[in-house]
Symmetry: C2
Amino acid sequence: MGILPPPSTSPSADIMVHKALYLKDIFSQGYVDTLAWIHDVRSSNECVILVLRDSSDVVEVKICSEKWLPVLKNLTRESLVRIKGFIKSDHVLEPELVDIVIRAPPTIPIDVRSPLPDDVKTFTRYSYLVIRSPKYSKVFKVQQWIMYYSREFLLSRGFVELLPPMIGPCSDPGLRGARKLQTRLYGHLYELMSSVIMFKQASVAALEKVFFMARNVREEPPENLHTGRHLCEFTQLDLEWAFATMDDVMKLAEDLIVYVMTKVKERCKDIIEELNPYYKVPRTPFRRLRYVEAVEELKKLGVETPEGKEFTQEGERALSQLYEEPIWITHYPVISRGFYYLPDPEDPRFNRDFNLLLPRGFGEVIDGGEREYRAPEIRKRIEALGEPIEKYTWFLELAEIGIPPSAGFGLGIERFTRYVLNLKYIWEAAPFPKVPGVVPSP
Amino acid sequence: MGILPPPSTSPSADIMVHKALYLKDIFSQGYVDTLAWIHDVRSSNECVILVLRDSSDVVEVKICSEKWLPVLKNLTRESLVRIKGFIKSDHVLEPELVDIVIRAPPTIPIDVRSPLPDDVKTFTRYSYLVIRSPKYSKVFKVQQWIMYYSREFLLSRGFVELLPPMIGPCSDPGLRGARKLQTRLYGHLYELMSSVIMFKQASVAALEKVFFMARNVREEPPENLHTGRHLCEFTQLDLEWAFATMDDVMKLAEDLIVYVMTKVKERCKDIIEELNPYYKVPRTPFRRLRYVEAVEELKKLGVETPEGKEFTQEGERALSQLYEEPIWITHYPVISRGFYYLPDPEDPRFNRDFNLLLPRGFGEVIDGGEREYRAPEIRKRIEALGEPIEKYTWFLELAEIGIPPSAGFGLGIERFTRYVLNLKYIWEAAPFPKVPGVVPSP
């Protein structure tokens, strides 16, 4: 690449101003001197109404001075302007300067003011514009606090956060219908992390209490698009605790959820009030139902569960709608679940495992249990997968040396965000969502 | 998979005890009742010396009671024991119970007591055991606090942390010799993130100040193994700020480093004192050198820099060894750098960009600058790559609609950790390191 021509304007001098004033403050300050996006523009009698947007707010100002009207009438939405002037009564702005830094084209692919999540293909295809909508800016501000307070809570309980691997010779094979993604590094086949379960079991031998904020990728069956709660790329707060029982980690999960929801409610009060009228910090302990009891409950509602299988999507939704608070389902049939759970010594047809279902139809947010740690059992299970066993070499070696018994869970960050903000679809809770069956999206 | 036989022992009853006592407290408490790993075992006269390890400490106890000697003499390192008893004077333990929960094989592939990072192939191949060594447990405890305080600082400055994508239709092409990894999702070609630069530029149009704690993968040239500071999988604190200048983000980076190093020193005092005698919170502002000045400095040392190129590994190391404090190198030649930097309007042969070099040979930890945001320039640069242009469709669309001018940087978390803890090699600062040219490793 050769030397580029000098920029037509000098951005450092002209555009890259240190932005000290944000839109949220212009009415209390009485003046504007900032950079903002044209969220909307319309005429009103002899004036122009500008709806301005920046990262702090969306505000409406009215400009009536003749000098600026020709410039303003041709403004397109999503243009970027530098604007200076004084605010008079009734949101009237008297400009000193209106400089169009970026002129957006007259039509853009989606309506940034309120992109439609029902049209999932357009929504995900143009996620790079969706993020500009005021609603989704707020979602991501809340999401960061969910992560921040989760970490604050877990660090206070002695957990260590580890950097999550992105690829490995093998990843979690227990995906129930989803497919793992592959890549090559120096010609060697690697898998993209579908979950970091094996790395968790390796780490607890050292640090005892660990978690990863792990990105996972899975090629979900395309029909899972219609559940509204499956992403192909998602984040798990993936936690493991050596020597703990399922009761220990269930209690920990309850405390985590209560802590985060209490803190987020304080920190993001206005957004919560705007987006989620149902927001309620749940009471602990959460109700528990064994799998077999839940199957009975569903039968009463006329919903059948296939023998020894996990609940159908319909069944899970029905269960989730029965309750006003999160509910634990425990002791799933061994034959319904993958790979790494420990059968219950008291009745080995069932695991010592659990899911947490969120109420009002939001469904599963946590999946966890006690882990199989005995080398012969791990080997048997891996052999039964029918995958090339060499992929699992390191984990089998580790099992022979010794994996401590442990319990843990994965909490879906996007699912939890969706619940906290009462979003209709999971893809509204991910900044650049990749959804089942839809490619390519950024 | 069928129903498994019941476990031979009931782990919930026997092993999964709620571990309330940690080794660090046994001498002040006067008793032991815990689970611990056999870090070492040796005989001494009629007694056995056990070096016990858990996540809190490594401690030595002496057991002389005849009843337990036959059991203890055959203990293997990395076995897991449940141990109960009273501590007498001089670290003598009188056991009530010594139960071998896991008996490790007599030989294991590395010496967990102090794995040798010089033997990088063994070190990375057995990273699942390396993590057990007391030194590396400490490294990862410090690393989590580096990340925690980085977030605390950036959130206090109004930055929003976004979930990082793992794959996309395109990733950063400006890799200087490294290769991007590919995968397929529903048959469509995707790239694993080599950096999230394009996603940062998309996000600042909405949130203005953003960062990602992004995992990146790059197939580095195998010879980069010998720099001791390249990983194939690594973490960038990848930050972007709309409308900011390079001076703004350089100042921000200085404040971030000082904040984190001050806090980490308080929080991890003992570990820092043990591992890094050179630990010093740097003074701000950091010294700045233009690229052309640095080339002159190197010449004086007899180190040549190829015309218009970045410094050689030798040159960077020499520069880094010249100074006692971190040093900025600014205004690299446009032709030496990839893709996304903005040429300096005052002299367009050079970018408005920068690297931060850590002193004492640690080298580059930050890479950043002001960004090219003008659609025609972005298009020209992408066309010049010689890659299929369709991969970049979404980013070119976005450029036509409008990308705001911005500045930002990526800070290598593992490199920063290496510096903070004075580690010889970068792979000592990553929990499951993947290094240039070495496959497979977990």
